[in-house]
């Protein structure tokens, strides 16, 4: 409601300014408008340049090796084998682990912050969760390498192997650094994304939705799970997809704990490699045109995939906000 009135006001304001401009300093105003417009176009231009430049730079790789590299799992640049399938696999698996862990916890945190916590606790807890997003990824990597990886090797991986060891996922040596550790670290890193956006979406669910459910005799949890979460569903999915985008593109933290071995392994304990982390690890060491071209191709692929994912997520989050505005008139 607040927002809509601001919009109608600025429409009225633009009308006024048009009349005023005729009498006063048309040159100053025209210049001002041009500068503002130029800045807006600049933002647009940056995005276009990103697309064009990345595709142009990746072109030697695309034209010589094409998308065949996606179906090839053998990565041995010294031997001329440029298969990126292992990186794609590692990226998908680490991101999936991150979402499986951070998704439910993040949504629970969001419900806690929007509905369950006592009022005095909401702001401080929310701030702590937001600061979790402010910690740089290289610091997470450092912490993951020296704290999380030993904990995984010494406690979590043996425990998983003991209880779920019949699954191939949880068999094999305990390395500490590996796909599972990278996924857990990513979970910590994307948790604030899920929690903060879901909280905003839950806050946007009309109070009537909650009151009606409680008036029907629902418990608080039934009210949340049957009236609030379903109403906010597309926004929550949007938050999860945004988190996925973050997890897919994270380079520094992952490169320090994933093990950096271009292999596809059934075990989550085994070391792996991701698209972003191979860029971080090998880009400056790439010798030869083709090696570098393939790495740039991976970068371009990462850019395009995450662009699509983010665009989709934004549309979903936006949909909830506009629906709510429409519902409130």
């Amino acid at each position: 409601m607040q927002r809509q009135s601001v919009e109608t006001q600025s429409v009225a304001y633009a009308g006024v300014s048009r009349k005023v401009r005729r009498g006063h300093s048309p040159f100053g105003d025209r210049l001002f408008q041009t500068v503002l417009l130029g800045a807006a176009w600049f933002v647009l231009l940056v995005v276009v340049a990103l697309f064009v430049e990345l595709i142009v730079a990746a072109w030697p790789g695309i034209s010589s090796l094409g998308l065949r590299v996606l179906g090839n799992a053998k990565w041995d640049p010294n031997d001329g084998s440029f298969g990126v399938l292992a990186f794609v696999f590692g990226t998908l698996v680490t991101s999936a682990i991150a979402l499986l862990v951070a998704g439910p916890i993040g949504i629970a945190v969001a419900l806690f912050l929007s509905d369950l916590a006592p009022r005095w606790l909401r702001q401080p807890t929310g701030m702590l969760v937001e600061l979790l997003a402010a910690v740089p990824s290289v610091v997470y990597g450092l912490w993951g390498l020296f704290v999380l990886a030993p904990v995984m090797r010494g406690y979590l991986e043996p425990a998983l192997s003991k209880s779920l060891g019949f699954l191939p996922l949880f068999q094999g040596y305990f390395y500490g650094v590996g796909v599972l550790t990278a996924g857990m670290l990513l979970a910590i890193m994307v948790l604030p994304t899920v929690a903060a956006i879901s909280r905003d979406v839950f806050n946007a669910v009309p109070i009537e939705q909650r009151e009606a459910m409680l008036a029907l005799g629902a418990t608080r949890w039934e009210m949340l799970s049957k009236a609030v979460v379903p109403y906010a569903r597309s926004g929550v999915i949007g938050a999860l997809v945004l988190a996925l985008g973050r997890a897919l593109g994270e380079a520094m933290a992952v490169v320090m704990v994933v093990g950096n071995k271009p292999a596809i392994s059934a075990s989550l304990f085994a070391p792996g490699y991701t698209m972003a982390s191979v860029l971080a690890n090998e880009f400056t060491e790439a010798t030869g045109q083709q090696y570098l071209a393939v790495l740039i191709e991976i970068g371009a692929l990462l850019f395009i995939v995450s662009f699509i994912i983010n665009a989709g997520a934004r549309l979903m989050v936006r949909k909830v906000a506009t629906e709510r505005r429409a519902a409130r008139g």
């Binding site: 601001v6 006024v16 300093s25 800045a39 933002v43 990345l54 916890i105 916590a117």
Partner: protein, 279 residues
């Protein structure tokens, strides 16, 4: 009746789980930060801030060149990205109707989610390849692109919140639009715009991925704009994965310094915004 008790118990259980999740999330932050403080504090000394890195085995040494590199690279990015982003934000807030404005808004939102390492590859292809050498300036290009959308969106929000009546008041007194915006609207929106600028700096201060193949790193003093330069997040990365204990020690010290600076920027951003509401 029995069923009701069951439903209530289930509800209490699930609410307890949600509270536990929030506790876990908050505790994670505390654990990470406390660990970095405990490991990093012993590494911080005067020489950490004033000396160049020393080879392995030589005691002492610091990251002075990386601090200078980080400051210069971020300053250069800010000088370009903050004004352009703020102007684009003002455009969106005041004249932002139509397809261009929608596209800019949407693409800014999407740009905030693009992996920083992909932006690093872009800066490499755009600046490093044609000039044939790594440089701090190419790192500034990458960081500037990361800052831009944050500044755009926060500025738009800040300017939107300014009541239109004060602009109209200025216009009614005969001010041209540009003067009314610059002299009346912007001063009111300034805390919000400053917050956005501080948050964008906080965001890029910890970025290391886009610096890998732009700033590249250096063990010596170098011109932080035209040559390969050290930067704090890069040093943390390079020293953390080194096998030497002294270097890992420096990495922890750097991590503590970085977290301190970033949290301080976040806090400052909140305080600036808080001051506006207090007035």
């Amino acid at each position: 009746m029995n069923r009701l008790a069951l439903r209530k118990a289930w509800s209490a259980f699930m609410i307890g789980l949600a509270a536990l999740s929030a506790g876990i999330a908050a505790a994670t932050l505390v654990v990470v930060v406390l660990y970095v403080v405990s490991k990093g504090a012993p590494a911080l000394s005067v020489s950490f801030f004033t000396h160049l890195p020393r080879p392995v085995g030589v005691p002492g040494g610091g990251v002075a060149n990386a601090l200078l590199g980080s400051v210069v690279v971020i300053a250069l990015a800010s000088v370009v990205a903050i004004p352009i982003g703020a102007l684009a934000g003002i455009y969106l807030a005041l004249f932002g109707r139509g397809r261009l404005a929608d596209a800019v808004r949407f693409l800014s939102d999407v740009l905030t989610g693009v992996p920083s390492i992909a932006i690093g590859v872009f800066a490499y292809a755009l600046v490093v390849l044609p000039t044939h050498h790594f440089s701090g300036a190419s790192a500034s290009v990458a960081l500037g692109i990361i800052m831009l959308p944050i500044v755009v969106r926060t500025t738009e929000e800040a300017v939107r919140l300014v009541p239109h009546t004060i602009r109209e008041g200025a216009l009614a007194l005969g001010m041209p639009t540009w003067k009314a915006v610059l002299l009346v609207t912007l001063p009111v929106a300034r805390p919000g715009i400053t917050t956005g600028a501080l948050l964008s700096i906080a965001r890029v201060a910890g970025e290391s991925a886009p610096l890998l193949f732009t700033a590249f790193g250096s063990q010596f003093w170098s011109n932080p704009i035209s040559s390969p330069t050290a930067a704090l997040p890069l040093v943390i990365f390079q020293y953390a994965i080194s096998p030497y204990h002294e270097w890992q020690q420096v990495a922890w010290g750097g991590a503590l310094l970085l977290i301190f600076v970033i949290f301080a920027l976040n806090l400052a951003a909140r305080l600036v915004l808080g001051a506006k509401f207090a007035r």
